[in-house]
Amino acid sequence: MLTITDLHANIDGKEILKGLSLTVKPGEVAAIMGPNGSGKSTLSYVVAGRDGYEVTEGSIVLNGEDILAMDAHERAAKGIFLAFQYPLEIPGVTTMTFLKAAMNAQRKQRGEEELTTPDFIKRVRAAADKLGVSQEMLRRALNVGFSGGEKKRMEVLQMVLLEPKIAILDETDSGLDIDALRIVAEGVNALRSPDRSFLVITHYQRLLDYIVPDSVHVLSAGRIVKSGDKELAHELEKNGYRDYVADAA
């Protein structure tokens, strides 16, 4: 599904990713854990194609296709989804308008028919109900005045509607209470399938009790320094990142 090889990336002349390699198989849920500042969000931005990062070495291959030359919107249409750690507020643009624009922009790039309004509304209703997103929220400007938990649920709603091949969840658990966490995890789990992968970025092990990963990778100072199964997450919970931070230094 996704193969990242020896990735080096700079921002503002500062190297943040320093030879990161990672493979996520179809259907796999891979967790990335690491201390603050280790480069987790940077990795998610570089994979999603944010402008401003300079990739100096390495490659990112999605289903056999090198995506590094693609713009963010093209990568999205290819099936990459990033649930933001800090979702942005877009004043004056209603959530419904945004959802429709996003879904149709992707369909257009893939050469698919645009959604009819009834079909679109039906899909949004169904997904919103499951995630406890109210109609009132859908009518409001995107993320404007939403609580932290509402913003995260809105991210998951978008993921459900856009049906990505690989979803990167950047600290989707931060700022969530236990009930919201459970709703978000259920949303993710419902999407798990043999041909959809997840990269779950988290600082804490807690989320992984709800979204049980197939693999766990420790990111420290811009590199994957250890990989293992879900037991690794428990170990990190107990011992912290000390060993790995020391390793990297």
């Binding site: 931005y45 999603a48 194609g49 944010r50 402008d51 401003g52 713009d71 963010a72 919107h73 999205a76 249409a77 989804f81 990033l82 933001f84 979702p87 942005l88 877009i90 004043p91 004056g92 643009v93 308008t97 945004f98 624009a101 996003a102 879904m103 922009a105 992707q106 790039q109 400007a141 978008q158 856009l162």
Partner: protein, 426 residues
């Protein structure tokens, strides 16, 4: 100490002074009006065209923008409109031919001025803005305009359109002064639009007197072919428990100065001034506001959004004055601008002059580029950059357009906004 500079000195100023000399004897109005016109002309004569040394005009130097004063059109009436539309063509009023809603009276100002009562004269030539040179020139020279009277208690559902147009021959100037009197407890809405097929220098003044418990909403919009130079003055006096809202949508014209002098003169008067300006090329648009709270419990809201592309320049000067007795005034003023190009510029100058101690007044002004974080967020959902930028700009502007109550007008302005963005993207 300060030797007074000779006021009238440019070619344009001389031409304007000459035009008054030629026209004054034939301008409508009795002795009282004639006296007011002469005094107003003296104000203009003393000051000359506003220039950068006049603080309120610092960023819109008319001496520079108006190198040449086009001859002022003599004007003639045109075919009346069938809907509720008053046409001001070359400064001359043509009333609509349709039956008017009950409680609404329209009169050409040239007719109203003949035998005008003291009250009418007082309302048409208020003290607000009177020492501004362009307002003074308008007072001196305006031959016509429209008098709109809404009877006390009348609820006029239909929007009254004021359509400013001009003849298509040669470059010219046009001047008009209109007055809207809204009686106690009455309600009405007005939309003014400005077209000009040739190079036109327009000086239009619209004066509102809104009595107690009345409500008036006003929309100003430019047309695809707007005047080359337009000084648009809005003067309003808002009575007790009355409300006045005005919204400007500016997307055309080369040089536009909109100035508003609004006074809350009755307790609990509500004032809302808003605007969206979409500027590109070498367009220059200046919004200058003076909002005065003279009595307690007044409320005012100002929200202006400016989007600038190319080499366009924008100006926002907003002054909120709270007089000593105007306790419990609630004022909030905001001007936000987005620069889409490195060559565009915006001058923001919000000011508060507060002489009462128990008030809540705030202001904020921002100028910035489009937010890359927002753009990336939309792109990460599959939306191409240009479309993402368009959505963000559109959302930014729509926050203002949402305040337009008339759905037809709101949708029209929304479509103009989308069209402007689509042209930018193509």
């Amino acid at each position: 100490m300060n030797p007074r500079p000779p006021a009238i000195r440019t070619k344009a100023e001389t031409a304007l002074a000459d035009s008054f000399a030629h026209a004054s004897a034939s301008l409508p109005g009795g002795d009282a009006v004639r006296g007011l016109r002469t005094r107003a002309f003296d104000v203009f004569h003393e000051r000359g065209l506003p220039n950068r040394r006049v603080e309120a005009w610092h960023y819109t130097d008319l001496r520079n923008f108006m190198r040449e004063a086009y001859p002022i059109a003599s004007g003639a009436s045109v075919a009346p409109a069938s809907g509720l539309r008053v046409i001001i063509h070359d400064g001359v009023c043509t009333l609509p031919s349709c039956a008017l809603p009950v409680g609404l009276k329209l009169t050409a100002m040239r007719d109203a001025l003949a035998g005008a009562s003291d009250d009418l004269i007082h309302a048409l030539f208020p003290d607000q803005g009177a020492d501004d040179a362009m307002v003074a020139f308008n007072a001196a020279m305006a031959r016509d305009g429209v008098l709109i009277e809404v009877a006390p208690g009348a609820q006029i559902d239909a929007t009254i359109e004021l359509s400013f147009t001009s003849s298509g021959d040669a470059p010219h100037g046009d001047i008009s002064r209109s007055l809207v009197l809204v009686g106690e407890g009455a309600r009405a809405s007005i939309v003014e639009s400005h077209a000009a097929p040739v190079k036109v220098q327009r000086n239009s003044a619209l004066i509102f007197s809104i009595k107690a418990e009345a409500s008036l909403s006003h929309v100003f919009e430019t047309c695809a072919d707007s005047p080359e130079l337009h000084v648009s003055t809005l003067i309003a006096e808002v009575g007790q428990d009355a409300s006045f809202s005005s919204l400007a949508f500016v997307s055309a014209g080369e040089v536009l100065r909109r100035q508003a002098f609004v006074r809350g003169s009755g307790e609990r008067a509500k004032i809302a001034l808003r605007g969206v300006s979409l500027l590109k090329g070498k367009q220059h648009a200046d919004t200058t506001l003076v909002v005065e709270h003279a009595v307690p419990h007044g409320e005012s809201r100002e929200l202006f959004k400016t989007i600038l592309d190319g080499e366009a320049s924008g100006v926002f000067q907003g002054k909120v004055v709270v007089k000593p007795h105007a306790q419990k005034t609630d004022g909030g003023m905001k001007s936000q601008a987005i620069l889409l190009s490195d060559d565009a510029s915006m001058y923001n100058k919000p000011e508060l002059e507060i002489f009462a101690d128990d008030v809540v007044c705030g202001h904020g002004a921002t100028v910035g580029q489009l937010d890359e974080d927002q753009i990336f967020y939309l792109m990460a959902r599959g939306i191409p950059r240009v479309q993402a930028e368009g959505m963000i700009i559109e959302g930014f502007a729509r926050e203002v357009l949402e305040f337009v109550e008339d759905e037809t007008i709101r949708e029209r302005l929304g479509a103009e906004l989308s069209g402007w963005l689509a042209r930018r993207a193509s």
